[in-house]
Structure formats: C-alpha cells, structure tokens
C-alpha cells in the first residue's frame, strides 16, 4: 500500500493490517504503517482518529486484535511493553508517565533500574550519573535528586523526554511533545530531534500544529476514523490538503470572522490584581460583545488570570469587577454573577467523566432552571437534549457517560454547561487544545454567536493564528504581568511574540 519514496535500506519497523476494537468502537481498522531509520514520520488526524490507539499498540500497551508487525522485515510479536522495548521502541506520552514522589533519576530509569551486586538492590549512584549525562544533553540543569512532584509542567515534560532518550531508542514515538513546552524548550527539543535523526533513530511524531508538521516531517500520514487515509511527502502537499484529508471535507483554515457590531459597555474590569499564584499588578478589561485574547508563553500567568477572575484562586490585592460588581468570592459567586470558565483541563477540571452527558450539561445551570431546591429529571433531560442539538454534540443520547465521548464533543459539553447557566462572560482557557480541526471551526463559530448575542469572551490560546483570527484585541502576558495590549490592527504573530518574549 505504501510506496517507498525515501529510503534505500527498507523500513525499520512495519505494522501490517492492524485492527483494534473496544466495546462499541472500532478504534483501528486495517492500518498499515512503516517507519524508516533516520526519518521523522508525522502522524496526523482528528481526535478519535486512532493515533493514540495506534501508538499504544506499537508500544505494547494494547494488544492488537488483528494484524502483524515486522522488525527489519522479520515478522515479530508485540505482546506487552517489554516486547516493544526489545525492538527499541520508546514513547513520550502526552499524559505524563512520571511518578510524583520519586526523584528524577528514579523516574528516568523506572523499570530499568541499574542493578547492583545485591539482588533487588539498585545502583543509585550509577543511575544519578547516567541521568546527569542525559539531562546535560538536553541542557537541563536540574538536580537529579529532585522529586518530580516539585517540578513544573514543562520540566516534567522534559524529564519525560529524557526518560525516552535514556532508552537508546531506535524508534521514538512523540505524542504532541511540545504541547506544554515554551518556545525555548521547543527549540531545544527540535535540536535534539535533529541529532537523533542524524544518529539514524526513527521517529513517529503526533502533532496538531501544522508549523511543526512541515518543519520536522519527512513523511506525513493521515488517519481518520481508525483508518489510514493517505501518506504524503511534505514537498508534495499543503496544509489545506492535509486538513481536508483529516476531516474528509474542505475546511477554511482562516476561521473567517463576521463583522460584528461595536462593543458595548465594560463587563469585566480587572484592576491591579496580585495573587499567590504569581500574578503581579494585572489590569485588563473586556466589553460586552467582544472577544479579547490573552496570549503569552506557557507559564506566563494566563490561566491564573482566568482563575483569579473566576474566584478559583485568591486575589491578595486589587479588584475584579464583573458587571459593575466587585467579585471577591469563590466560583459559586462568580457563577451567580454570570461568569463562565471553560478550563484548560477538560477531563480533570471540566467534566465529571463517570457521569452522563446530561448530568454534566445541567450542573452549572441547576439554579437557573430548577430554582433553589427541586430538581426534575424529566425536565433536565429535555434541557440536555436541546443543548445537545444546539451544539451538535455527537453522542448516542443524553444518558451516555461523558467520558466515552471524543475530545471535541467533551469540550462542547463543557461549553454547553455554561450556555445552560446563561452566563454572560466566558473565560475560555485553551478551548481548542487537543481538538480536531472540524470541532475547532465549530467552536469559533459558537464564540462568534455568543458575542453577537451580547456576551463577552476572554480567550486564552497558545495558537497565535487563532488569536489573530478570532479576537478583537488581545492582551499579552509575561512573567505574571500584562506586558501589553494590542488592537486588532496591531495583532501579528511577530508583535505578540515580541511582547511575550523575555528578551524583547
């Protein structure tokens, strides 16, 4: 099925006709895939397209229902992580596989501890030495005795990468590795990838960022609905084609924005806010009928601004005024004032995964629909059905457990929860993270609809093109402060980056 364009030596590893089903879902359907030494093979697809399942099959976490593997042309079996490791397969997962109360060295070598003379005993000194060497390669000056629990997210991601590197992998799988990294760290990672490539390591790289796809990729494979749709060379394709392959139809990448009426009165006024979470003298405002961006590097304090407005973090000085009223309470009070927070962590902060779609949709708006006390399941279901329809949530029904939906549909449920609460000020924190292109477009359309209806939106995003396309103006954060404000006409990737970078 695959025509071999690039390599002379033949593939290092092949998957042939892999299928994998879960109850009710066919996650992978006859997927074939090959990896050559010294190449970066980009893997693209919407959420739920089967990328993660494919990776888990490859690393032995799942066992395939059908299909076979070949290593250097020899048929092999992969029946667990140990088998995968034998063929030099290592994975950097999106969700961290670190143990919080073990130190960096212990984490890097978890399951591969250095043996010492005494059975069961580990050679701790040796592990620290080797860990030091790997961290140095990555330019990380962390003490290898530091507990992982004490590291920030970016550092944890770097440790995760160090862990994969330490396995001297022949095949390295990276699942959205830059999602939590700063630009500087991303640069360092890319340099590392280049070096590994030169050493002949084969890499499978999953990404949602088009820029990365074209910067790093030697070959690009698109998955959709558990099937392989196409494999392209970067020189022979363009982003628009890849996107249409992913969604199965043509999508306009520009999120074209309709002209909106001029913004109304100020509904959010943040003045000189300081918090324990690291905000310093933050002032900003949002008016009714406008979408205001909040840009900045990861860790610059964007999420903290949203949490402070919503009352999730304590404001130590300064004021937050919502609809003319000072908000100094908790999320319950913010909700009562009409504020909505669509948090960054959909699964951990946004949804009760074991509860139904309806339960989740209703949670924030209970007081609106049912008064103070009485709840009616039948009325609740009716409300949920209409929200599902309005947001086009793909679900077998309102009683489906929300944890079983795809990422984009889960995000719609989170948003629906707040529509139901009749909120007037929406704080979106990375609303499109981990969401496929089709769903992104739908969400932006929804934002547009919201502000047209008189609501106000503050949107945090790491995707500068999104900010530029969607927002009326944007604030840029740097080190817990507002570094500047850009009007619509001033917003370019260059101007935002300049404000957000430290050395500017």
């Amino acid at each position: 099925m695959i025509t071999d364009h690039s390599t002379q030596a033949g593939p290092l590893f092949e998957l042939r006709g892999i299928s994998k089903s879960f109850p009710g879902v066919r996650a992978l359907d006859d997927v074939s895939f090959e990896i050559h030494p010294g190449e970066v093979h980009m893997l693209l697809g919407e959420n739920g397209a089967g990328k993660s399942t494919l990776m888990k099959v490859l690393c032995g976490a799942y066992t395939a229902d059908a299909g076979e593997f070949a290593h250097r042309g020899e048929p092999v079996h992969i029946d667990g992580p140990a088998d995968a490791r034998r063929y030099g397969i290592a994975v950097i997962f999106q969700e961290f596989t670190l143990v919080p109360y073990l130190n960096i060295a212990q984490n890097i070598f978890l399951g591969r501890e250095f043996k010492s003379g005494f059975p069961g005993w580990v050679d701790a000194a040796g592990m620290h030495r080797e860990a030091r060497r790997i961290l140095d390669q990555l330019g990380l000056a962390l003490d290898t005795r530091t507990m992982v629990a004490d590291l920030g997210v970016a550092h944890q991601q770097m440790v995760e990468i160090a862990k994969a590197l330490s396995q001297q992998a022949k095949i390295l799988v990276l699942d959205e590795p830059t999602a939590a990294l700063s630009d500087r760290e991303t640069e360092r990672l890319f340099a590392m990838i280049a070096k590994l490539k030169a050493d002949g390591v084969a890499m499978v790289y999953i990404s949602h960022r088009m820029a990365e796809v074209f910067e790093l990729g030697d070959r690009i494979t698109v998955l959709r609905d558990g099937r392989k749709i196409a494999t392209r060379m970067p020189g022979e394709t363009a982003p628009a084609e890849l996107v249409s392959l992913m969604v199965g139809r043509k999508v306009d990448m520009s999120y074209a924005r309709s002209e909106r009426p001029p913004a109304g009165p100020r509904v959010l006024d943040v003045r000189n806010v300081h918090t324990n979470s690291g905000l310093v003298d933050v002032s900003l405002n949002v008016r009714a009928g406008e979408i205001v961006g909040l840009a900045g590097l990861v860790g610059s304090g964007r999420t903290e601004v949203a949490r402070a407005i919503f009352g999730a973090d304590r404001v130590t000085s300064g004021t937050v005024e919502v609809f003319g009223k000072v908000q100094r309470g908790d999320p319950a009070k913010a909700r009562a004032l009409g504020v909505a927070l669509i948090p960054e962590g959909r699964k951990t902060q946004g949804l009760a995964l074991i509860r139904s779609v309806a339960d989740n949709l209703l949670l924030a708006g209970l007081h609106k629909h049912f008064g103070k006390r009485w709840f009616s399941p039948r009325h609740g279901l009716a409300i949920a059905r209409s929200l599902i329809e309005r947001l086009r949530v793909v679900t077998p029904g309102p009683l489906q457990r929300v944890g079983l939906l795809s990422g984009g549909n889960q995000q719609k449920v989170v948003i629906g929860k707040w529509l139901n609460a009749e909120s007037k000020l929406f704080l979106f924190d990375e609303p499109t993270r981990g969401i496929d292109v089709g769903a992104k477009a739908e969400i932006f359309a929804l934002l547009d609809q919201l502000v047209r209806g008189g609501a106000a939106v503050l949107m945090i995003s790491s995707e500068l093109p999104e900010i530029i396309a969607v927002c009326d103006r944007t604030y840029v954060m740097r080190e817990g402060r507002v570094a500047g404000e850009l009007a619509r006409a001033q917003m370019t990737e260059q101007s935002i980056l300049t404000l957000g970078m430290h050395d500017a």
């Binding site: 992580p81 596989t97 050395d503």
Partner: protein, 325 residues
Amino acid sequence: MHDAVTAAPAPNFLERLQRAGSAGGAAIVLLVLFAVFALAGRNFLTPGNLVNIAMQSTILLLLALPMTLIILTEGLDLSMGAVLTLCNVVLALVAVKTGALAPALAAALAVGLAFGLLNGTLVAALRIPPFVATLGTLGVAQGLALVVTDGQSVVGIPDAVQQMNSGLWFGLLPPPIAIAALAYLAMHLLLYQTRFGAYVFALGGNREALTLAGIHARGNLIAVYVLGGLMAGLAALLLTARINAGHPTAAIGMEFDAIAAVAVGGTSFERGKGWLLGTVLGVLAVGVLRNGLNLMSVPSSVQVSAIGVLVIVALLIDAFRGDRR
C-alpha cells in the same frame, strides 16, 4: 520560559524531610508531648519508662510499617488487626501443641501470608477497592479466630515463645525492640534502596507509568499486601509473647490505630506521598501520649479523647504547613 530551564536549587536535608511527607506534624507533636511529660511527670524520663514506651509501641509499629507501604500504593488494609489476632491464636495453638517456637511462628507467618495473598488478589487481580476487600477479609479473619478458639483464650504457651519478651538481645535490646528495629531497617532499605521500593511509590503515584515501563504492577501490588500479612504474622509473635496467650479478640481494631499512626506520621492517602520514618514518629507519639497520661493519672475518659485530639492536631499541623508550598 527563560529561567524555567535554569537550575532548581538542590533540596537541602530539611526541605527533603518536609517534602517526604510534610513530616512536621508527628515530629512537633512528639517533641511537645515529650517536653510536657518530662516537665510534669517525675517518672517519665527514666530509662525504664522509655524502654516501656518502646516495648509498648513495637506491635503497633510492626503493623504500621507495612501499612505505610500499602497506603503509599493508595491502598488500605483494614484486615490487619484481625489477621494479627488470627495469627496470635494460631501461633498460640501450635505452640501449645508442639511446645516449640519455630513451627508456631511458621504457622503464624503462613496464615499471614495466606491473608496477604488473599487481600492482594482481591485488590490487584479482582480489582475490588482495598477498603472493601480488606473490610471483607477483616470479617473472615475475625470469624476464623473466634471459630478455631470457640471464643476461648489459648494458654499454656511454652517458654520458648515467652522468652521473646524477656532478656536482652546482643546484650543491649529487649527482643521486641530489637525485632522492631530490624523490621524498620529492613523496610527502610526495601522502600528506599530496592526496585520494589520505587515500584511502591509508582503504584500510588502513577500506576500506568509502571505498566508502560513493562513492570508487572499487579504482582508488585500483591507483594505489598503479602508483606502486610507477613508482618502481621511476625507481630503475632510479639503479641503472643507479650500476653503469653492467644486470644480471639486480642488485636481487634488495631488496624485503625496503625492507619492513624501512619497518617500522623505524614503519609498521605494520595499519590504515593509518604515517609517511613514519619510512621515511627507517629507510633511513638501515640505511645508517649498513652504512657504519659497514665503516669499523670489522667482519667481514662480524658485519655480516650486525647488520642482523638492528637490525631487531628498532628494532621492540622501538616495541613497548615502544606499551605506554604
């Protein structure tokens, strides 16, 4: 971020202590209790009394040590007191029958092993929540202890067993203290120096990481519960020697004391956060409190409440210190 990549300072010892399990609560409580009792009671700070406290704490310590490991895996073992009781009864019965220590201890350890395996299998293989599984085996062990003795004490324990409670080992330590110290040492090394120890932290902190690293998580989890059962068997030796009998309700409820001691010692129920030495402090805090209050002739009802206050205050101190992070 620019400076995000620069070095985080290497943790100093104190910070490491604090991180290891907030650590503060138990240590502070223990110090305060020591100071108060030393000032208030004439007999408290005598070598004899300190040995007393140590002796009284040994059995609980033997339960609390493996309990720490179990809690580190985000587990719980409610059956430990009942299993200890059953082991006590079995050890006594076998000792009376054979007149020797070795077969009796072997029988107790075998019973402990069996219950450890049962707990581990229920939790790890059948995926029954630890609280439920061990609540069930609590009933089973307690029932068996009553059934095999028909509610009666077992007496006539041979001297070989009783000697475990008298004399000095190495010319220095009474055997129970020596055994407890060795048990602590072994557990410490096991937890901090071996792969198994790292896996214990991983079982609670991030079980999937362990599986993805190709480690048999279930097997290690079962091993943790087996360790608990075996330690209950060993504790049965000390208990039998101490009361010179087997009794079908001798240690009922002691699992809660052990859990409380672990919590007082700063081990958290979540994410594999904990500190083994803290558990020792927690056990000693309870022991010192009871002993000190007895020496001061405090009414028993006040003693009962004082234990509750101790547990809550120790946790409060940790909670407030935790805030500062």
